[in-house]
Symmetry: C3
Subunit: 346 residues, 3 copies
């Protein structure tokens, strides 16, 4: 796949500065780009790379004022980041040959149905009474249990496991090894200290455009549904317990864990390795910084939280700043004490 | 499946208040229940839902005194929670059609044996010289390595992976994607800074009634056995390293990690995202709160730990309470210092 | 498999003290060893076990001076640990019958090639245009996507998943359920608060002798490569985000997470459950203690870090020591205040 700088500029409705006839055969980061590469500059923090890059062409803003001469061609556009993302999408569509058809041996129970234009890989498994839409892509070793529903255009990568009764919307992505619908961790303590397993008869519902990361785990509800709303993005190795609700367009970064029955609002961001206790409610647009642990509900929208246990980010930053010189603080107190109560023989 | 309130009360040996002829077709949480639903009230914290619930009937304690009129029927029993769990179990048995038989293609080496009344799903794999009991349920994509032993009534969900030599007791549950018996993380540093892999020749032993969560990982012992004792419950994404021992009826919540050779007693509770250093011993009934990190052995039974590094919960709560206003503390010290050593020209 | 103490001593070029004719049929830890077992003593912290062990023979240092009589035979060598590791390797080679050949049904696209002396298990899957070396071992339910390259002697355990375009070196070990090459977590926020998925067109490159733990996840690069250099050891349930680089012979312990574009040097050690923010650089030989969270780049080599947020281990230990008695500190301040500003009516 090879295009000229001019051809690409035309697609992006951009203006070329420099040699428009140069040939581009790959996309690259500006700091790693070599001849034949097209890069982009969006964040001006990285502007210095523009003057040293080996790229044949760089997509930049129409308003960028050069501070030094450049040896690369420029394609000037309104929004370099969006233009570049468009090219990435184009590249991906061109190279990820859309897999279609059925590879044998694949297993699908006779009572299940699947729409047009699908891919069912070798060793994929679809249980009884499933209803699966059009344009669904099912990679090898995917397991879909009985009575599941899966919407149009959803893709399940290798080894994704979907327990019985799960409902998955349209255009969802389930990455490799993710588990959707495992039993919630429900055990009733008995008088002798042992535990009785509480049956988990609920399910998991993923709305449209949800993404579930590799090896993430989403437990079914004890009763009712564990619910991931439209557009939510769940990263790798995240744990979502029974009866949790994740709001629309909320992002949960890798290795975070959300305990049972907690409800997270829309447009929230949980950074990596965060933990949330059970039965909490987090208002819309709550942000939790990495490794924080939230033990209380948040009612006000837009709050930033940090720490374990977490409190307001601003206060947490200040407390941490003092924490680092606690030994100093103690020394100062001791000195004050010596001043207030001088040793008898001084 | 539909029963009357009266029929259900009879099964539970409960007393009906209200219309016993109403039809019930589902179980639900009291706050989500609608007509046709049966709910329960055990924790009086949620009593207010009783007066507004849409449930057709609610299971309550014989001793509950109503503070307002109710529009739902009541089934009065001795222990609402246990009664409801019994109904959940009944429901689950009725709906999870017991899978039996062999779906093709399934793989089992000729040298292995499996008992009566089992399910071997399509794409399940059983290696050489395995001995597998009666009533074992093996979902698709389960891998069982050579020379494994698995007891009666154990269920392995989709994609569970059991390395060679593993021993699994009766009535265990291995959830989807769990890995049992992977090599311990053992590497001997060499003079040039590289690492030599130390062969891991031990195995994993799970006693009876053990539950292993989705995508959890349990490493085999370097020598001897990594041991999970009777009734222990291990949640999703937990890491258990080589030569660890987990005591009877101990609970390890999601994303916790236990380092090599640590021994945890009986009836312990590790909350979510906890970490334990290696070569520790934790006494029976130790509790570790969420996100805590334990670096020292605990000899006394019944201790509660918090923090990273963890210490006694009571002390940790107090220290954290002060931590939040550390900047205040520093201000107070500065003020004292100004008092004790006033600026020369004030 | 049974050898005499004398035969083993000969292999190790060691000297026997005691009965060289005793028969050894297993390797064991010194504290767990029984008759017929061979153990070793390297760390003198465990010397007391030498005088009570049930082992038939123990490998010890030539220079060890006994403080009590022993009832076990001794094999004296220069380096007991290395000698014992050699025996473990020998034992493992003898017992892990090298699997070879193809079990049916296995899937390999006609456009792919694989070298001599390989094992392709039942239900293993190899996509289009892959190039796979000699002596490669592929367990059941392994998925290898299109256009992958895998070097000689690499082993992929059950259910390992390798996305398209991945490059894996020679003598690598990919443990069960590990995911290599999943999409990076890249989403561009849109004006309405939803997210647009940024195509991830890069790949993952593992150099030689890399080990990836069970259920670990390694995301592909947005562009370019996520790179794990020679000899690096990645433990179970680790998350490595897009465009990360891990240096040579660096060790990352279980459940650690490394955010996008962070570069870690050679010979580093990240203990369990650590987290690293994105776009950082860590110098060679950096050590991060368990559960720590690193938010800043480290330029100096050999630094030890602790805490969340992490700073120098020595300072962190001191600050934590004071943290535990913060309530005390506050009391002392209050007392000083009362001294400096005594209550009016005292």
């Amino acid at each position: 796949m090879e295009f000229t700088v001019g051809q690409i500029a035309e697609v992006l409705r951009g203006a070329v500065e420099g040699d428009a006839s140069q040939r581009i055969d790959r996309l690259a980061k500006i700091e790693e780009a070599r001849a034949g590469s097209l890069a982009f500059l969006s964040n001006l923090k990285y502007e210095h790379h523009l003057y040293t890059t080996g790229a044949s062409a760089v997509i930049v803003s129409r308003t960028l004022e050069l501070r030094h001469p450049v040896s690369t061609a420029l394609i000037r556009v309104d929004d370099p980041y969006t233009s570049f993302t468009t090219l990435l999408e184009f590249y991906q569509q061109a190279t990820r040959t859309g897999k279609r058809g059925v590879e044998e041996p694949a297993y699908m129970a006779a009572s299940s149905t699947i729409g047009d234009n699908h891919y069912r890989a070798a060793f994929s498994y679809i249980g009884e009474n499933c209803t699966i839409g059009n344009d669904v892509v099912i990679f090898p070793h995917v397991f879909i249990g009985d009575r599941c529903k899966i919407g149009d255009g959803t893709i399940l990568y290798a080894g994704a496991k979907v327990y019985a009764e799960t409902v998955i919307g349209a255009r969802c992505t389930i990455h490799a090894g993710a588990v959707v619908g495992s039993d919630g961790f429900g055990f009733a303590p008995q008088p002798d200290g042992s535990y009785r397993t509480i049956p988990q008869i609920g399910n998991v519902v993923l709305e449209d455009n949800v993404s579930i990361g590799a090896n993430a785990t989403i437990d079914c509800a004890t009763m009712g549904a564990t619910l991931i709303r439209e557009g939510a993005k769940i990263d790798n190795l995240v744990q979502i317990a029974h009866n949790v609700e994740i709001g629309r367009h909320t992002v949960v970064a890798a290795q975070s864990g959300i305990s049972g029955s907690t409800k997270i609002g829309d447009f929230c961001v949980l950074a990596g390795q965060t933990g949330l206790a059970g039965h909490l409610t987090l208002a819309n647009r709550t942000t939790v910084t990495a490794q924080s642990g939230v033990g209380k509900s948040i009612k006000e929208e837009g709050v930033l939280l940090q720490g374990s246990p977490a409190f307001a980010l601003r206060d947490s930053l200040r407390a941490n700043a003092v924490f680092r010189h606690l030994p100093d603080l103690e020394r100062r107190i001791s000195q004050l004490e010596r001043g207030a109560n001088p040793p008898e023989k001084s």
